[in-house]
């Protein structure tokens, strides 16, 4: 209960700002300054959401969240494994870091035939895109976090005869958490973008697909309905990550 109250207090300001912004937008579109097939009036978007609410939420959002969930978990697991492997072995680092980098510089649309070839139009092609986008900040953040630890503590543990693995679990893991969480917050948002882009590369459900369909019909209200829901989902995911971060980093001497 306390949580919710303080949440409202905290974000009330943003809410007020949003309302003012929406009213202004409505006026601008009404007055015809911006064509409504490019930026629709907020009221139209609202209607587009309400009219399709159950399909937007229970079909499209659900599918997007599923893709995001699997992709994000995979990127955390594999991203952390890669970062840890790089941390332990310079050899692995020298090989993997460039590959990780290359994976990011390739335009995803160029990969679409390859993904389709491998995964077909199953959920896995979207998971693959989600993974590809979200694992990069995790690898970099986790690796940088692991390297950031004060070496005096490492020396102390070494003097106790700690193995490399013990030094890792007892010290580096904890000292990496701040940088790591900073990157997790990025990654969760990128995972959402990833799922959306994945849906553009071939899908029949999901908010990304929905927005693409609506855009093809020049239905701006429909596009923004999907965007609105995506944004809200993104903010909620980010807030959840921030709360986990706050909780886990509570006892740090800040």
């Amino acid at each position: 209960m306390m949580k919710i109250k303080s949440f409202i207090r905290l974000y009330g300001l943003f809410a007020i700002f949003t309302v003012i912004f929406l009213i202004a937008m409505e006026a601008v579109v009404e007055a015809g300054f911006v064509p409504s097939y490019i930026i629709p009036a907020p009221s139209e978007v609202y209607r587009a959401i309400i009219d399709n609410l159950s399909s937007l939420i229970f079909v499209h959002l659900k599918v997007t969240m599923l893709e995001l969930g699997i992709g994000f978990i995979l990127s955390v697991v594999i991203g952390v494994i890669l970062a840890v492997a790089m941390f332990f072995s310079k050899t692995i680092e020298k090989i993997i870091y460039p590959i990780v980098l290359i994976s990011q510089t390739i335009p995803i649309i160029a990969l679409s035939p390859i993904f389709v070839l491998w995964f077909g139009y199953t959920i896995w092609s979207k998971v693959a895109v989600t993974f590809l986008i979200a694992f990069f900040p995790i690898v970099v953040g986790c690796y940088d976090g692991l390297r950031s630890g004060n070496s005096e503590y490492v020396d102390l543990l070494r003097s106790m005869g700690a193995t490399k693995w013990q030094i890792f679990t007892k010290f580096h893991v904890s000292s990496a958490l701040p940088v790591f969480f900073s990157s997790l917050k990025l990654a969760i948002v990128y995972a959402l973008i990833g799922a959306t882009i994945g849906e553009w590369l071939g899908a029949s459900e999901g908010l990304g697909y929905y927005s693409r369909r609506m855009s093809g019909q020049l239905n701006a209200a429909g596009v923004f309905a999907a965007i609105t829901i995506l944004s809200i989902a993104g903010i909620i995911l980010f807030i959840i990550m921030s709360l986990i971060e706050k909780r886990l980093l509570r006892n740090r001497r800040s």
Binding site: P113, G202, L218
Partner: protein
């Protein structure tokens, strides 16, 4: 019913990838599926949607899908790049592509494009088409400014960033732009020097054609039956499509109805029945594509298509 279930086991899976998301042009597919024409031929049809307009051809070539709806020009281009695909039937036998332009910019004939901006969607055929168009009318192509507008054709014209579009369809973009109140006109390509072509064709991989010719023939047969139904009763055909789609996406009924009206005359007539491909059309197109350097080498058009007998 339970009888159907037993049949299901014997059905052969056939995957078709559309050119774009489902719209009026695909009515026949949905009608034939709904009415069980494919099942009658022993086919269990799966319909998929592509990411990029280039994907379906490649997927058909590697046999990841059995059939793709693609463009005649793309088939020739693919063959020039040694991508082993074959067209087995014509879906829309004439161009839907036309020069769509903003009437208020004073365009009345192709020559008027001089000094104007023409938007296109990264397609290698757009520039040669406009060139053919303008030069056929005695104009100077070097005075036309071509603008690659990426994915979005409609906003480019609607916001006045370009004066005309190449690659927009008379049954889609044209209708939608009109609906939004943009003062658009259209100009046919084949009346202005560009050879006639099939906008949409059914494409399969060479390997698939060899091994599954029988099944593909049956597919065309079932589809032709579906197209007959569409012709006879466009309204109810469209309803099948709309019903299928409306669960999750609302198609604009008015636009799709108008679209189907434009499409039907282009999908088989007395001279060329539905699905039939005209060798002459293939030859003229292949020649033109070579002449305009769209294909780096001359494609043997006879290998590019095959008319199935059903």
């Amino acid at each position: 019913s339970s009888g159907n279930k037993a049949d299901n086991n014997k059905l052969k899976d056939v995957t078709i990838m559309l050119d774009w998301y489902p719209n009026a042009v695909h009515s026949a597919l949905y009608v034939a599926k709904e009415k069980g024409y494919f099942k009658d031929e022993g086919i269990n049809l799966k319909i998929e949607m592509p990411a990029d307009t280039n994907d379906p051809l490649k997927m058909a070539a590697v046999g990841k899908i059995d059939l793709a709806i693609s463009y005649q020009k793309q088939v020739l281009l693919s063959r020039s790049e040694d991508i082993p695909v074959v067209s087995i039937g014509s879906y829309v036998q004439h161009p839907l592509d036309a020069l769509i332009y903003n009437k208020s910019k004073g365009i009345t004939r192709p020559k008027d494009l001089e000094g104007k901006k023409v938007g296109y969607a990264s397609s290698p055929t757009s520039e040669p088409i406009i060139k053919t168009l303008v030069e056929h009318d005695g104009g100077d192509m070097s005075k036309v400014k071509m603008v690659d507008v990426g994915f979005d054709l409609m906003p480019a014209l609607a916001t006045g960033k370009v004066d005309a579009l190449e690659g927009a369809y008379i049954n889609h973009e044209y209708l939608l732009l009109k609906k939004e109140g943009v003062n658009v006109g259209k100009m046919s390509l084949e009346d202005n020097g560009v050879p006639d072509s099939s906008e949409l064709v059914f494409v399969t991989g060479e390997k698939t054609l060899k091994s599954e010719k029988d099944t593909l023939t049956k597919f065309m047969k079932a589809l032709a039956k579906g197209q007959d139904d569409v012709k006879k009763n466009p309204k109810s055909a469209l309803n099948v499509l709309l019903d299928h789609e409306n669960k999750n996406f609302k198609l604009d009924k008015k636009v799709e109805t108008e679209s189907l009206n434009i499409l039907l005359p282009l999908m088989g007539d007395k001279t060329t029945p539905f699905g039939q491909q005209n060798p002459k059309q293939w030859k003229n197109l292949a020649d033109w594509m070579y002449k305009t350097k769209i294909t780096p080498k001359k494609v043997n058009y006879k290998d590019a298509f095959m008319n199935l007998n059903y």
